[in-house]
Amino acid sequence: MKVLGALGRVARRAINFLRRDKKAAVGAVIIFALALVAAFPSWFMPHDPTAEIYTPGAGLSLNHLLGTTSFGQDVFSQVIAGTRESFLIAMIVGALTTVISVVIGLSAAYSGGLVDDGLSLLTDVVLVIPTFPLIIVITAYVKNASFWMLIFVLVFTGWSYGARQLRVQALSLRNRDYLLAARARGESGFYVVFVELLPPMTSLIVANFLSSALYAVLAASGLQFVGLGNINDQSWGTMLYWAQNNEALATGLPLWALAPGVAIAILGSGLALLNYAFDEIANPALRPVRARRKVVAA
């Protein structure tokens, strides 16, 4: 119940904030629009994206807003259809890596000692593993990596950076008096970590989520481009794969390659713009107006 109340408050503050900060508002609009397209692609698609019945290699026209591919498919519909997969990958990978980073980072910082040493070692080892080669090896082994396989691979290689960041911030907060006060009051460790330590870190956690999501989009698209994803899926990365394979740029069909690229960039920008905004929403006491001084007001 309290959680819902808190979420409600955060939502209201978020909306008020977005009204004031233009960058954040633009970012939010972009993400919201993409979410809508991902949820209801059929509302936006003029044609069936897989149908190869149109004039191949046609240029811009009212019927085909972005032209057609060399197979005779409508590019615009493909971009719309691809939104769902790319958007979902971003959100799911973002969420999963963030959850893992939070649990590992905060536990390490709060427990200290051997637990911290162990978890930090684990984090550092995973961090140091070269990501792209690992991803390539895994997906090549699996062949035609499906949606969930991609997600697994990206989460597996992506959580460690966030865990390190969160651990460091948690360490800096760890000796704040209010945590000591909670311990002195007799609260359990679990309570101190999740009710007292986590909320002031919300802005960093959200920032983490957004940057993981961004990383996921780019990495997933990269993998699909190289052909390691399932080439029959509808996504921006696979569009790039097909476009590249059919030498779209060379044969005078640049939109086929550019459109998914621009779409990826738009999603990325939306995430980045929102990222700018999150500090002030999470912490009610953060206002940029007065510098904190040691001697406090009456």
Binding site: V289, R290, R293, K294, V295, V296, A297, A298
Partner: protein, 321 residues
């Protein structure tokens, strides 16, 4: 001619609820070699006033009126470049918390050198010589030129800040609560050091603090600020021994003493007013023991009687026609 004349100075802070009048119509003057203490609770505007005089205000604070005249020159009319040339030579500032003001990644010597290079064209040798000299002036062994801030104790760090302020022999050194982070023995020692240097080098001091007892033995004159206004101004002894404004009297009553019989003290009830929507009339009226009708309606003026000025209707009755 006074060294410094502050005329009708006003500073507002931009807040989501409208401008907060942090400093209202403050008039002060300072002679060469004089030590002026500005005392008040946090939020009374004393630090803002200090920053305004030093031309260090940044958004959301802004000048909304008045002038600051130093040696006959209006500082508010100078360009940033002209100000930069004068900074540190004429006026230097010692900040409140040395741990925050000193760069933790540079040694003391490097920071002193940095300050020299920013404001002079001295060569390396002269910089090194002067740096060692100022450290010795504040009783720090010059070997500490190579030390970092975290290696020095609190008292030493604060003295290093003072040394930095004295590099170019300014005529005025402004200090913002330099002793508040120090223990009582270090505090006493620092104040003596400042006094000693002042006698030797002859600079003026503006010292901002919330604790008047710290300056009581060192300042020539004392200004008491409340809610952005100066409410009492006079020689230190006048203000201490014959406090006239009820707020000053309240402050004097709020100090537990080591002398005399133990007695109960009450402090001053209530909180300072909102600077965005100040109450009509006297700003202290809501908390004043002696408040009467006129106080709530008419804002009192700062009236000077033989060098001791007070802003209070009780002290300076207004004849209402």
């Amino acid at each position: 001619m006074s060294l410094l004349d502050v005329n009708d100075l006003c500073v507002d802070y931009a807040t989501p609820n409208g401008p907060a009048h942090a400093v209202s119509h403050v008039n002060l003057s300072l002679e060469a070699g004089e030590f002026l203490a500005i005392v008040g609770e946090s939020g009374c505007g004393k630090t803002t006033l200090l920053f305004a005089i030093a031309q260090l205000l940044t958004y959301p604070a802004a000048f909304t009126g008045g002038s600051v005249v130093f040696n006959g020159l209006d500082l508010t009319s100078l360009s940033p470049e002209e100000l930069r040339q004068r900074r540190w030579r004429d006026i230097s500032v010692v900040m409140q918390s040395a741990m925050n003001a000193l760069n933790p990644t540079l040694s003391i010597g490097e920071q002193l050198a940095d300050a020299c290079r920013a404001h002079t064209d001295w060569d390396g040798e002269r910089i090194a010589a002067r740096s060692a000299e100022v450290l010795q002036m504040v009783s720090i062994d010059p070997v500490h030129l190579a030390s970092y801030a975290y290696q020095l104790s609190g008292g030493m760090r604060q003295r290093a800040m003072i040394a930095m302020a004295l590099l170019l022999e300014p005529q005025l050194v402004m200090m913002d609560e330099p002793t508040s982070a120090l223990d009582v023995v270090a505090q006493r020692s620092l104040m003596r050091q400042v006094e000693d240097l002042r006698q030797r080098l002859g600079f003026s001091v503006i010292f901002v603090t919330h604790d008047m007892s710290v300056v009581s033995h060192f300042s020539d004159r004392l200004a008491v600020m409340y809610a952005g206004e100066v409410v009492e101004l006079g020689s230190t002894r006048q203000v201490f021994d014959q406090s006239r404004h009820p707020y000053t009297q309240g402050l004097m009553e709020a100090f537990p003493s080591l002398l005399g019989a133990p007695r109960a003290l009450t402090g001053i009830a209530g909180n300072p007013p909102s600077l965005v929507e100040p109450p009509p009339g006297c700003l202290f009226a809501p908390r004043c023991k002696y408040v009467f009708e006129t106080c709530r309606v008419l804002a009192p003026e700062l009236v000077d009687r033989e060098g001791h000025a007070t802003r209070c209707h009780l002290v300076n009755p207004v004849v209402v026609a």
